[in-house]
Amino acid sequence: MVGRVHFDALFDPKGVVVAGASSHPGKFGFVSLHNILRGGYQGRVQATNLNGETVLGIETVASLDDLDDGSFDLVFVCTPASTSLDLLRAAHRKGAKAVFLTNAGYGEAGESGQRAQDQLVAVAEELDMLVAGPNGQGVVSTPSNLCAQIVAPYPPAGGIGLASQSGNFVSSFMNYATASGIGISRAVSAGNAAQVTVGDYLEYFAGDEATSVGLAYIEGVGDGRELYERFRTIAEKMPLVVVRGGATAGGAQAAASHTGALAADDAVFDGMCAQAGVVRAPTIESAFDIAATFATQPLPKGPNTCVLTTAGGWGVVTADAIHRSSLTLMDLPADLRDAIDAKLPPRWSRSNPVDLAGAETRDTIPEVMQMIAEHPDVDAIVYIGLGIQTNQATLMKTGPYYPEHGTGRIVEFHERQDERYAAAACDISVATGKPILTATELAVTNPSNSGPAAVRTSGRFCYPSSNRAVAALDAVWRTVLHRAARAS
């Protein structure tokens, strides 16, 4: 039975061995050792190689038996499947508790592969060891600076715990983490999940202090009931966001009843997630948006959402998105309207969305944002318009007149203003305990713009569109509702 001690060995090992280290920089045995060293892992790094070559400065040995007892907890295996059982036994003799298998030729390779996989699990259970994979891409654990994987990237540290049936989606999520700055605690590619499943990893994350939200990609579901019970238990401890691949493959089932004819596999999965309190995201990017929101924003206490914008169209589209969601585009309270009136010339919208209509001066945005956030009726804010000043500054900076004609000074002013707005969105959110989501396409079209750059610096997620911000906030609000309905 795999338990905490095994997962600790996988995610926070005091020493790691790469079995099958290679001097060829294109081979997994090189790449994984490189990534472990490159990631700044602080524990002991050792490696095996049949020829005893020195790889990346590590003097390898021919066999695990040549290493000191208790000098490693995790063996990262890059040798063929035929070696796995011997490695498992040797690792066990040395006191290791976990083995990560990148090798293929198991359950994915037909009947004989499946037999080998079953045997692997039996030996692992007998030796009281954890076997991750086989056919997995690796494991990342930022609290231990561990990047034991045959792929990139190594993401920044953060609260998202990631488990995936597809190794490539681990990379995809970590690419989003790297780009957005919303970091990862643990990430693991479950591979064939012979012994340890995505559900097992998520359960470990739910009790892991470094993890605040779970994010998972799954395809096949073995025992649906077991998965449901797992999900429910996990969701009580941490928010869990799931993407399911192959969801539309299973059509309606042939059945005697009308109910059965309507029971498309996907609809049942959908209901299972809703019942368990798990957020089911339709796409990889929306799953990351939602996980990033859980990881960085306070939970909304109600649905009343206020939009703060510097231009009309943006606000209108955001309002449309809110109308389509479970959130409420609240009426602007009269006292809040009067308070903003005192700050602005009369051309502002005087309603929600709060459209400043270009009437803002130096301090207007942070001040109005604070007024809105502090109003007791407001539960959440979506802020749009960040980065437009810097956008102009960039045009000036890259043009022939810079820094003459006063452009040098105004560029600096614009960039500083966007930095202030981004910082204010985070600071006011923290001070009021209310979510404030900043959205601009500049997050992807020009991530170096000082607006989105400052959002990243603040540790928040800069949403690439207001639709995506609203969809993420909607998912978080539904989770709050799910919990509230069951709290009494």
Binding site: V221, A256, S257, L262, A263, A267, V268, G271, M272, Q275
Partner: protein, 219 residues
């Protein structure tokens, strides 16, 4: 996938089984002859529906075994004798089911379905002839709580369909919750239950009334 052999119950037995677990049904009578049918209709109040009912009869409408909107004694009498004459030897023991004529503009569907991956599920959907095209359905795994049932109702896309509609009041949510939790309770109590259909659930004056039921049991 459930492959074992199954059998279906007659409409009356299906309703009786589910009613034991507090799935609400309209009052109705099962009678054997024409004169009893007339008496039952008088008790229930006109107009009524008369159907030919039996364990092996699961597609009554297709076979013309349902007579709707019978307004007086003579109409019931004629319908009852015609239906009894339509019974074939294959139908085995048959009876006449007399029920009040339920009318409403809206139809829902609810039921139980044994999912091959997730086991027994409760379902709620928008019913009617377009049900399978519209596929506005929600599922939950058995057992469900009242909260789960509420969220199922909220989870239907066609929320407007549940509100006031063509002069009829909004759907009685409490009654609908009762249908769903009753189905769940039936599935929990009977491990031989393979599927159940309440189709249609006609929304009559706001109340969902199951005018037909089909229960499938493992043999």
């Amino acid at each position: 996938m459930h492959t074992a052999e199954t059998r279906t119950l007659s409409e009356a037995d299906s309703k009786a089984l589910l009613a034991e677990h507090d799935v609400p049904f309209a009052p109705e009578r099962v009678v054997s002859g024409t004169s009893d049918a007339v008496e039952a209709a008088a008790e229930l109040g006109f107009p009524v529906v008369v159907k030919l009912c039996g364990d092996t009869i699961s597609h009554k409408t297709e076979r013309g075994l349902v007579r709707l909107n019978l307004g007086d004694t003579s109409a019931v009498e004629a319908a009852a004798s015609e239906l009894l004459a339509l019974a074939t030897p294959d139908d085995g023991r048959v009876a006449l089911l007399v029920a009040p004529m339920v009318t409403g503009h809206r139809e829902l569907i609810a039921g139980l379905h044994l999912d091959p991956i997730f086991g027994m599920t409760v379902m709620l959907g928008v019913g009617g002839v377009l049900a399978e095209v519209v596929a506005d359905v929600v599922f939950r795994l058995v057992p469900i709580s009242v909260v789960d049932a509420c969220e199922m109702i909220d989870g239907l896309e066609a929320q407007k369909f549940l509100g006031p509609f063509r002069g009829e009041p909004e759907v009685d949510r409490q009654a609908l919750i009762g249908v769903l939790t009753g189905l769940s309770a039936a599935a929990m109590a009977r491990d031989d239950l393979v599927s159940a259909d309440l189709n249609p659930l006609i929304v009559s004056d706001g109340r969902p009334v199951a005018v037909d039921a089909l229960v499938e049991l493992s043999v």
